[in-house]
């Protein structure tokens, strides 16, 4: 027994002293450390005639140049590949100018978060233009386009500095950077810079940021009628989001795309939060140019809808259009109509807009979105237009024309997502005054489908 105890003691002694460490210290967080690297070059100078490295794009669209001197630039990261709208690129701004840096690697946002200062040793790198946009990268490929800096060379060329630096954002007027009619030029002062433009709205609010299979350009129109393009990659994680309706500010990297001698200004937004369209009207006074009517039913989350100028017509309050906030896909208030549990048969409910004046309207369009639930058949939901309706009257007294729109498909159980109607062309009513109505018809009281309506917008292009 003594022997066993001795052994046990010996065992525990050995076990103890030969313990192998299990936990590792976290490495230091170097995010706020800024190396003191001397900077001897600016982006603006790099591309200037004085340095003579590279001719201007106008003189030589395919010019690239190798940098053989020990130049170092330093800038703040203003955009990266976090959302996927940029791919193998980051954009930096050194307060003289901005530049797109091509890097042959994924997940750059982990190393180069927006707001980080970085230092770039330029010797051995290349500068050039892509469709007029200044870029920094690596050896040109066979088509003379710059390649990305190889991932295996990154640490030689790009030194990381502190994070959370203030971003150089340029508040610009749409007139400075946009165009009217057909674009012919862009403003080179803002190439590769982070700009913010106020009082903007999307035209195609029935659409998503990008089509599923290709990068997509969407027009963004200012209250005073200037257009810039929002260019979005189909790989961006917000590509399938619906374009927001309403008005507000848009922030993004200002870029250019030359096609021949014709330049198109393109805004590359970094994330959908770069689009803050929260206002119903332009700043200052008066309705937004081009917007004839908007309604997102944000006034309340319950109760019967009662909006100035609108007609909410139904045989009883219970089957009129009501405010709803069922959470779900839209997660914001909307209009809802149903005969479910009303104990009424032959329900015939209408929600009619105020009069909309299409005088002088070019390309007038209607968009809205719908969702529906509990398919039973026998329920009808339609969008109609009338030119001889009187506000507040029984809709049955007027003539109505049905409009063709994409409507939600109610599932057998639960609700569908909200889907866009598509652009509904109202140009055949141009020059007239119209009313638009959503009509819900249900023969039986129970069961009945429930329909939801949201984000109504009537626009014109002038």
């Amino acid at each position: 027994m003594k022997r066993s105890i001795l052994l046990l003691l010996l065992l525990s002694a050995v076990l103890y002293q030969s313990c192998i460490k299990k936990d590792f210290d976290a490495p230091p967080d170097t995010s706020y450390y800024n190396p003191d690297i001397p900077v001897n070059m600016t982006i603006k100078t790099l591309f200037s005639d004085s340095l003579g490295l590279i001719e201007s794009y106008a003189d030589n669209p395919v010019d690239t140049a190798s940098i053989l001197e020990d130049y170092t630039i330093s800038g703040i990261v203003t955009a990266n590949d976090r959302s996927g709208n940029l791919y193998k690129q980051i954009v930096i701004d050194d307060s003289s100018a901005g530049i797109t840096v091509l890097i042959d690697a994924n997940g750059l946002y982990a190393q180069y978060p927006v707001g980080r200062r970085i230092y770039i040793h330029l010797k051995g790198l290349y500068i050039g233009y892509y469709r007029g946009l200044p870029q920094l990268g690596y050896v040109p490929d066979a088509q003379l386009g710059l390649t990305g800096i190889p991932a295996t060379r990154l640490d030689d060329h790009i030194i990381k500095g502190s994070v959370n630096n203030a971003l150089p954002i340029f508040e610009v007027e749409a007139s400075e950077v946009g165009y009217k009619g057909t674009s012919v030029s862009a403003n080179p002062d803002y190439f590769n810079r982070l700009v913010r433009i106020n009082n903007m709205r999307f035209i195609d609010t029935a659409n998503t940021y990008s089509e599923p299979n290709t990068s997509t350009s969407r027009d963004v129109l200012s209250c005073n009628g200037f257009t810039v393009i929002a260019r979005t990659s189909n790989f961006a994680n917000f590509a399938a989001n619906k374009l927001p309706y309403k008005i507000g500010s848009i922030t993004g990297i200002y870029t250019v795309f030359y096609s021949g001698a014709r330049a198109t200004p393109q805004l590359v937004i970094r994330d959908s939060s770069d689009v803050q369209f929260t206002m119903d009207n332009c700043e200052g006074s008066g309705p937004v140019a081009g917007v004839l009517l908007t309604q997102d039913f944000g006034a309340a989350t319950s109760g019967v809808i009662n909006l100035a100028g609108w007609t909410n017509w139904g045989t009883a309050d219970g089957v009129k259009f009501k405010y709803g906030n069922g959470g779900g896909a839209s997660n914001k208030p909307y209009a809802q109509v149903t005969a479910f549990q009303s104990n009424l048969s032959n329900v015939n409910s209408w929600l009619v807009t105020p009069a909309i004046n299409l005088t002088d309207a070019q390309n007038p369009k209607l968009t809205f979105s719908t969702a529906a639930g509990y398919s039973v058949g026998g329920t009808e939901f339609k969008v109609m237009v009338s030119t001889n309706y009187t506000a507040g009257a029984d809709p049955a007294t007027a003539d109505w024309t049905e409009l063709t729109a994409t409507m939600a498909t109610p599932p057998n159980s639960g609700y569908s997502d909200f889907i866009g109607s598509g652009n509904i062309d109202l140009s055949s009513f141009a020059g007239q005054q119209v009313f638009i109505a959503w009509k819900y018809v249900n023969g039986n009281s129970n069961p009945a489908e429930t329909w939801e309506l949201d984000d109504i917008m009537v626009t014109k292009s002038n």
């Binding site: 066993s4 065992l11 192998i20 590792f24 490495p27 997940g107 991932a151 189909n234 989001n241």
Partner: protein
């Protein structure tokens, strides 16, 4: 020759544990003899005399036992021994122990007096403890199954062989074993492993995980082997036979043992302490054992080992008929792994022992692939021996615990693996194909970085932490609650554990009855219930605050869809913190029941046996996550998958004479497919392959055995056909139809295993033996299996069906030709030395199915160089090695009177690969990912065998 090994309970010195048990039985026996008992007809007197061959002197005080009868005697002053009243029958006689080498022989008792004459014994080469116990066990522990990124089982060494005195099996175990030799090419799961009669094979894979009792060598020494189709006393057996460990307390000899081992393999140091009481007069026996195996770094860079083992057992024997045994053991072990890479990477690293899994963190080596397992087992046995002819053993087992395998996981980040193909010179050639000079320059830059910068050539932990530090993001709508959000550092990279948490209940009962002098009957039944919870959990957020439970591949596949990317719709947008489960989470439940029966008949000229087993195996999957991709097939319990299993085998041995034996055995069987090969993607859904089918096999083995005084040998031929096997491979498919991860379900796979095993052990003199062993086989596919390709990140669950042209490709089962020539020297002065020269050849790498399809051959001219490049199977270079073993035992009482007579010191030294050949590729596989346009884009990966490696073992026993 099954009769020689059938009762192969080796009473080698470390096995004579049993003998103590027997000593006590003997006492009982004498007592019972005193009571009135009629002299049975059919009982015999057995006698003989022992001679020490080393000294030509009589051998006194040597133990002689008939284990089946639990009878034990010691030779007297003139070396004689006598057993009386031995019932007629066929028995194993075990001679030796202590200073004498133990030997086992079969005796047939069929007359009243059996005089065995003079039997030779030789001094004990105690050192076989190093060879026969330690080395194979280490090989087994080293070769735990691992799954690589590409879904290939990277370590497929069979763990089947254990020590045996058969020259073929011994050589296959510790000479061929380290070079990935697999006996006959069979799977790991083809050997049935029991501990105290409790089945230990995993119910899910059929494999036995020897690491569960790793480091307990002292108490897991007594074992009985059968090989091939030979009948076993314990179970029906697999194609590769059975191993049963006698690891109860009563089976441990009375001793205290301290062992220290020094090695340069997986671990550096091992310390083992064991104390056993043996069976005491009061009928109790207790045994305790503990060990620690450790190293800061093993043979391969960045690996470490931190293993403890515990064992505690108690036995109570009541009036010789009832034995109650409680045995508990476990081996909590953490170890850092290494992994295979492609040749380009080995060249870049400048060593064949490059390990991509580690990197420096704050200047210390940290391994990202750590295996951490602790699955202790508790076995309760009731052993009932009503008569000497009948033995009934029932084992109840409870086993539980976790097996964790860590890895770096990441969401929307750059691949952190240093050997990722886009970080290599070959990729530079690809992207700079327009400028060869530039490609060369970039390659040189990478080569230079690999030589000088470990943050390039290894995992860059500091970089991963800093990526996480900088990534401030807001997680919204947490758990589906619109008002709940969290802003913090969203980890891009984390360390995660793939966890299997098991609870297993087993009842196994075996009845053995010797009916008369010729026949022994066996029957047994077992019931296995196992519940395994499998999930991935976040184990280290690497400096971040949270991780997200999203499938980035599904998000990419369905942009804008907020549900498909969710891994668990029941708690969408979950904030994952350390210890939280994510990605997958499911329970598998197994019910398996089996009955078997066996008859063994022994006659003068013929031995016959026949055995049958049947039962069922069934399992279900219960998903605990509702995946966004498979909303309706991921959550909840799947339909039960039922499979019937059966097996039949039989054989006959013709004894030409006492020296020459001819035998032929055959078997057929049907077994259930495994869980992982039934469910298309168990991690994500309940979907099964189109028609899960039982696998069938048939085997024939025949041979000649020679047992002459100076020559022992065997020549055995075998053939096994396996039909309807299933295998699912999981990898990224570059097929333009998928371009995503796929589950590549091969079904109806047929294969053949055939070959010859040869061994010859010639006694050159009393000190020298020459042993030649050869194993030459062929394991190959015999048909073109069908594959069903199931997308893994797509709601479309209909498979695409193709034919895979695998016929006549070799299976990757280690060297299919292995030869060894050994010279053994045994000194009279209790030391020995063995030198083995070995040669391995015909080791084929695993053929990837996707490059054996019609699609892969598109546009390639038949028999053109390109054709051969794509379709030929690579044979690894042959290898030559030398191994040296040395051992000596010291009887300490000869050196000092302070020591009792039972005190021994054993020293064993083994050096493998004496010539330090570091170029031995022991295995490899074609990467499953295959680019049809660039056949060499994803080259094969290889494993290398260790260079010169040693094992020094010092053991003190008293």
């Amino acid at each position: 020759m099954y009769l020689c090994t059938r009762f192969e309970k080796k009473y080698t010195p470390y096995h004579n544990i049993m003998i103590l048990k027997l000593r006590w039985s003997l006492l009982l026996l004498i007592l019972s003899a005193l009571s009135v008992q009629a002299q049975d007809k059919g009982q015999a007197l057995v006698k003989g005399r022992l001679l020490n061959t080393a000294t030509n002197e009589i051998a006194n005080e040597v133990l002689v036992a008939i284990p089946a009868q639990k009878r034990l005697v010691t030779t007297d002053g003139v070396g004689e021994f006598i057993f009386s009243q031995v019932p007629y029958g066929s028995y194993q006689l075990v001679i030796g122990g202590g200073m004498m080498r133990s030997d086992t022989m079969r005796i047939d008792i069929n007359s009243e007096v059996v005089d065995l004459g003079v039997l030779n014994v030789s001094p004990n080469d105690a050192a076989t403890s190093a060879q026969s116990v330690d080395i194979p066990t280490i090989a087994l522990e080293d070769n735990n199954v691992n799954t690589d990124d590409e879904g290939v089982s990277t370590q497929n060494v069979s763990g089947l062989l254990t020590a045996s005195n058969d020259p073929f099996l011994r050589t296959a175990a510790f000479v061929f074993g380290p070079y990935r030799f697999q006996p006959r090419g069979y799977d790991r799961n083809s050997q049935e492993i029991q501990i105290n009669g409790a089945p230990m094979n995993d119910v899910e894979t059929g494999d036995a995980y020897w690491n569960q009792w790793g480091g307990l060598n002292d108490v897991f020494r007594a074992r009985s082997n059968t090989y091939g189709l030979q009948p076993s006393d314990y179970a029906f057996g697999g194609l590769n036979g059975t191993v049963n460990f006698d690891a109860d307390a009563a089976s441990q000899r009375k001793q205290t043992r301290i062992t220290y081992s020094l090695t340069n393999r997986q671990y550096r140091n091992r310390l083992m302490l064991t104390h056993s009481t043996g069976l005491m007069k009061n009928g109790w026996a207790f045994s305790l054992s503990g060990s620690k195996r450790w190293s800061e770094e093993g043979y391969v860079d960045g690996t470490f080992y931190d293993g403890y083992s515990f064992y505690a057992a108690a036995s109570k024997v009541i009036n010789g008929k009832h034995g109650l045994h409680l045995t508990a053991f476990g081996a909590p072990t953490r170890r850092g792994n290494s992994g295979p890479v492609i040749k380009e990477v080995y060249d870049l690293a400048g060593t064949n022992f490059y390990n991509p899994y580690w990197g420096y963190q704050n200047g210390e080596k940290r391994n990202s692939r750590v295996r951490n397992s602790f699955q202790p087992a508790f076995i309760f046995n009731y052993e009932y021996t009503p008569t000497q002819r009948t033995r009934w053993n029932t084992a109840f087992t409870y086993q539980f615990g976790k097996d964790k395998r860590s890895r770096i996981d990441y969401y929307n980040g750059a691949n952190p693996a240093p050997d990722y193909y886009r970080y290599l010179p070959s990729w530079m050639n690809e992207i700079y194909n327009f400028d060869p000079l530039l490609a060369q320059q970039e390659s040189a830059n990478i080569q230079n970085a690999w030589r000088t910068n470990p943050s390039v050539s290894q995992v860059n932990w500091d970089g991963l932490y800093n990526a996480n530090y900088n990534n401030i993001e807001t997680l919204r709508n947490i758990n589906g609650n619109p008002n709940d959000s969290f802003t913090g550092r969203r980890s891009i990279y984390i360390l995660s554990d793939d966890v299997d948490d098991i609870k297993k209940y087993v009842v196994n009962s075996t009845l053995q009855h010797a009916a008369g002098e010729h026949a022994t009957f066996y029957t047994g039944a077992s019931l296995i219930l196992q519940r395994t919870e499998s999930y991935r959990e976040a184990s280290d957020l690497l400096g971040g605050d949270y991780f997200i439970n999203s499938n980035q591949f599904a998000e990419r596949e369905y942009p804008g869809n907020v549900t498909t990317g969710q891994q668990d719709l029941n708690t969408p947008n979950r904030l994952i913190q350390t210890g939280d489960r994510y990605y997958y989470n499911y329970i598998s439940r197994f019910n398996k029941a089996l009955w078997w029966g066996q008859a063994v008949l022994t006659y003068n000229k013929f031995d016959l046996f026949g055995a049958v087993s049947f039962g069922f195996n069934s399992f279900t999957r219960e998903g605990l996550f509702r995946s966004g991709l498979y909303e309706n097939s991921s959550y909840g319990e799947s339909p039960r998958q039922n499979f019937s299993i059966y097996a039949l085998k039989g054989g006959i041995t013709y004894k030409v004479s006492g020296r020459h034996y001819l035998f032929v055995n055959g078997s057929i069987n049907q077994d259930a497919p495994t869980f992982d090969n039934t469910f298309v993607s168990p991690r994500t859904r309940n979907q099964t392959v189109t028609k899960p089918t039982e696998q069938k096999s048939s085997t024939l083995e025949a041979g000649y055995l020679l047992h002459a005084p100076r020559v022992n040998g065997r020549l055995v031929g075998y053939v096994t056909d396996i039909k309807d096997a299933a295998e699912i491979k999981r990898f990224y498919s570059d097929d333009s139809r998928f371009e995503s991860f796929v589950n590549y379900a091969l079904t109806g796979v047929n294969s053949r295993f055939t070959g010859i095993e040869f061994a010859l052990d010639v006694k050159l003199s009393s000190a020298f033996n020459l042993i030649g062993v050869a194993a030459v086989g062929q394991a190959f596919y015999t048909n073109r299996p069908t594959v069903g390709i199931y997308r893994d990140n797509d709601t479309n669950i209909t498979p695409v069906s193709r034919e895979v042209y695998l016929k006549n490709y070799y299976m990757s089962v280690g060297p299919q030709s292995a030869y060894s020539l050994g010279l053994n020297y045994r000194s009279k002065k209790f030391w020995y030395a063995n030198l083995n020269a070995n040669y391995f050849d015909r080791n084929y790498i695993e053929a990837a199915p996707d490059r054996r399809t019609e699609l892969a051959s598109f546009g390639i001219e038949r028999n053109s160089p390109q054709w051969h490049q794509v379709f030929d199977q690579e044979k690894l270079p042959s290898a030559f090695t030398l191994d040296l073993y040395f051992g000596k035992s010291f009887m300490l009482s000869q050196y000092s009177k302070l020591f009792p007579r039972s005190a021994f010191l054993y020293v064993n030294i083994g050096v493998n690969n004496l010539l330090n050949n570091t170029e031995i590729r022991t295995g490899g596989f074609e990467q499953l990912r295959y680019d049809y346009n660039r056949p060499n884009a994803f080259p094969s990966k290889y494993f290398y065998g260790l260079g010169r490696n040693y094992f020094v073992n010092v053991s003190l026993k008293f």
